[in-house]
């Protein structure tokens, strides 16, 4: 079976043809450099992506915290992982790098926070005015 891919290793965007049989790459053509071949070998058999999305935060200054998978996960698992993520929530404060969920669908990948979300102050000092950093 032949698969056609656009190489995204660099801006050139070579059009690659990959021949795959029984889940094994037989040949790669159209690439101008070795990086293209490496890309094609993975992309044709088991494409992987880092997934970035958001998780609900309870009691935070923001309603969501941005998250990502700490390593590329198989592309075909993205819809399932999104369903999983939609059911999650985390209590504020959230720290950057905090692990929200371990071993996503047995991939070994972790879902980690990519920002901090402080806890919402219990009683605002001045209702209606969000505290700002002071001028010099």
């Amino acid at each position: 079976m032949k698969k056609r891919l656009i190489c995204i290793s660099c801006p050139v965007g070579c059009e690659l043809t990959v021949e795959v049989e029984n889940g094994k790459v037989i040949s790669v053509s159209g690439n101008r450099c070795p990086r293209g071949e490496a890309y094609a070998r993975e992309e044709a058999v088991e494409p992987r992506r880092v997934l970035a999305t958001s998780v609900k935060v309870l009691g935070g200054e923001l309603p969501l915290v941005s998250v990502k998978t700490d390593r590329p996960i198989p592309k075909n698992l993205i819809p399932q992982i999104m369903e999983l993520v939609k059911g999650l929530s985390v209590n504020a404060p959230v720290e950057l790098g905090q692990v929200i969920l371990e071993n996503l669908l047995d991939t070994g990948a972790k879902l980690v926070a990519t920002r901090a979300v402080p806890r919402l102050p219990q009683e605002p000092l001045n209702p209606g005015v969000r505290p700002a950093a002071g001028p010099p």
């Binding site: 005015v129 700002a132 001028p135």
Partner: protein, 412 residues
């Protein structure tokens, strides 16, 4: 009004401004950063996708992570920041800057000013698309802020006009959040964003990219009901008979960024094609105390470049504030063929610099020439990806000896 004297004042707390203030402080200057929003980081905060930092940190980061790293550099630099503070005017006499904040109006008298205000999105109204004016039409950046910061879904079924990177990223983001993304339309015959985003944001999810297509009309009195999609010819004119109605409740626009220079354009020369100030290799504008960095100079592809420019501007502005930046000879860089955006506009002897070049249309094979001294062959040059050529050492000195340096990209 309170007046504060300062060595280096930086306006704009995005990647360029944060890097600039940190670099100025590291260079020994008393540096202050002012930002109109409540948090520093600019647009990085809402760019939750990966793809940042490969140059600066040799690691692929998301926008918030990149901002965090940069803010780490800022915090350890000794620079100060004020948020919720909006600049109102820049008075070239003095110079002085007036800003508004909830604590009152503030006046600054900096020795050097770094303009790092970024870019704004071209609005729907500027496209002069006929039809109704319903709710549900958003620029991609606004849609991104609604989704990623406020946690609000703009609609249920969307079409994206313009294949700039933010448009592609938002197509994927909306798709992942359960919004049906019907298509991404691009007026030109080639995508406006990076190939990698075309693959990872559209192809991965089966979202069609329709090149040479645009929106001819929007429909819906209250909330958007649909759009008329039409094919266009080489000049971007609609082809009669190709119209079709597409039912959507949301139109997301990614139709260009405009460098934001409103408060300085009255007294500093701008490059009409970059739409940003003319700068030399030190990121110094034609007004010696005014430096500029980031997307207000020209719209860049990578935040890494923006931060790098910011840091350079910070260093040189600090030296200027100390009186250690003599006005010397500068050699003009002039546009030759196939050069749309060009940064900087002047070489300064002894100041190594990257030269950023954007071509107006794709070239399968191209030869880039900087004054005939530095030449490079490229395969597949596209408007979506700037060419970066680093100048230093002997080549730079040779170029610095010329009356002017012609930058051109010729088909090879």
């Amino acid at each position: 009004m309170r007046v504060r004297k300062i060595d280096v004042l930086v306006v704009g707390g995005g990647a360029a401004g944060i890097a600039a203030a940190a670099a100025a402080a590291r260079e020994g200057a008393d540096a202050l950063l002012i930002e109109r929003n409540d948090r520093l980081g600019g647009v990085l905060e809402q760019c939750i996708h990966p793809g940042f930092g490969l140059h600066r940190y040799r690691e692929e980061l998301t926008g918030p992570e990149f901002a965090h790293r940069l803010l780490g550099e800022f915090d350890s630099s000794g620079a100060e920041a004020v948020t919720g503070c909006t600049v109102l005017e820049v008075n070239p006499q003095g110079p002085s800057v007036v800003a508004a904040s909830p604590k009152g109006l503030l006046k600054f008298r900096p020795k050097a000013l770094i303009w790092a205000t970024g870019a704004r999105e071209r609005p729907f109204g500027a496209l002069r698309i006929p039809g109704a004016r319903p709710a549900g039409i958003y620029t991609a950046g606004l849609a991104q802020r609604l989704v990623n910061i406020h946690g609000l879904l703009p609609g249920r079924k969307a079409i994206v006009l313009g294949s700039g990177d933010i448009g592609l990223i938002m197509a994927r983001r909306l798709h992942l959040e359960g919004v049906e993304v019907v298509a991404v339309l691009e007026l030109r015959p080639f995508p406006g964003g990076l190939m990698r985003n075309v693959v990872q944001c559209l192809e991965d999810f089966g979202i069609p990219l329709l090149l040479r297509h645009t929106v001819a009309e929007v429909h819906g009195k209250d909330r958007l009901q649909g759009v008329t999609v039409v094919e266009v010819d080489e000049e971007g004119r609609p082809l009669p008979g190709t119209e079709r109605y597409v039912e959507v409740d949301t139109l997301v626009l990614s139709v260009g960024l405009i460098p934001e220079n409103r408060l300085i354009e009255g007294f500093v020369p701008l490059d009409p094609l970059n739409r940003g100030p003319v700068v030399n290799a030190r990121l110094q504008t034609e007004v010696p105390w005014l430096f500029a960095a980031g997307n207000n100079v020209a719209v860049f592809d990578l935040v890494d470049s923006v931060a790098a420019l910011g840091a350079r501007a910070g260093t040189f502005a600090a030296r200027y504030a100390r009186g250690e930046l003599p006005e010397g000879r500068a050699v003009p860089l002039v546009r030759g063929e196939n050069v749309l955006h060009l940064v900087p506009h002047r070489l300064v002897p002894g100041v190594p610099t990257p030269v950023y070049i954007r071509v107006p249309h794709p070239l399968p094979r191209a030869r880039v020439s900087i004054g005939g001294v530095v030449t490079r062959n490229h395969v597949g040059v596209r408007p979506t990806e700037m060419i970066e050529v680093k100048l230093s050492g002997e080549a730079l000195e040779e170029l610095a000896g010329l009356p002017e340096v012609r930058v051109e990209v010729s088909p090879a």
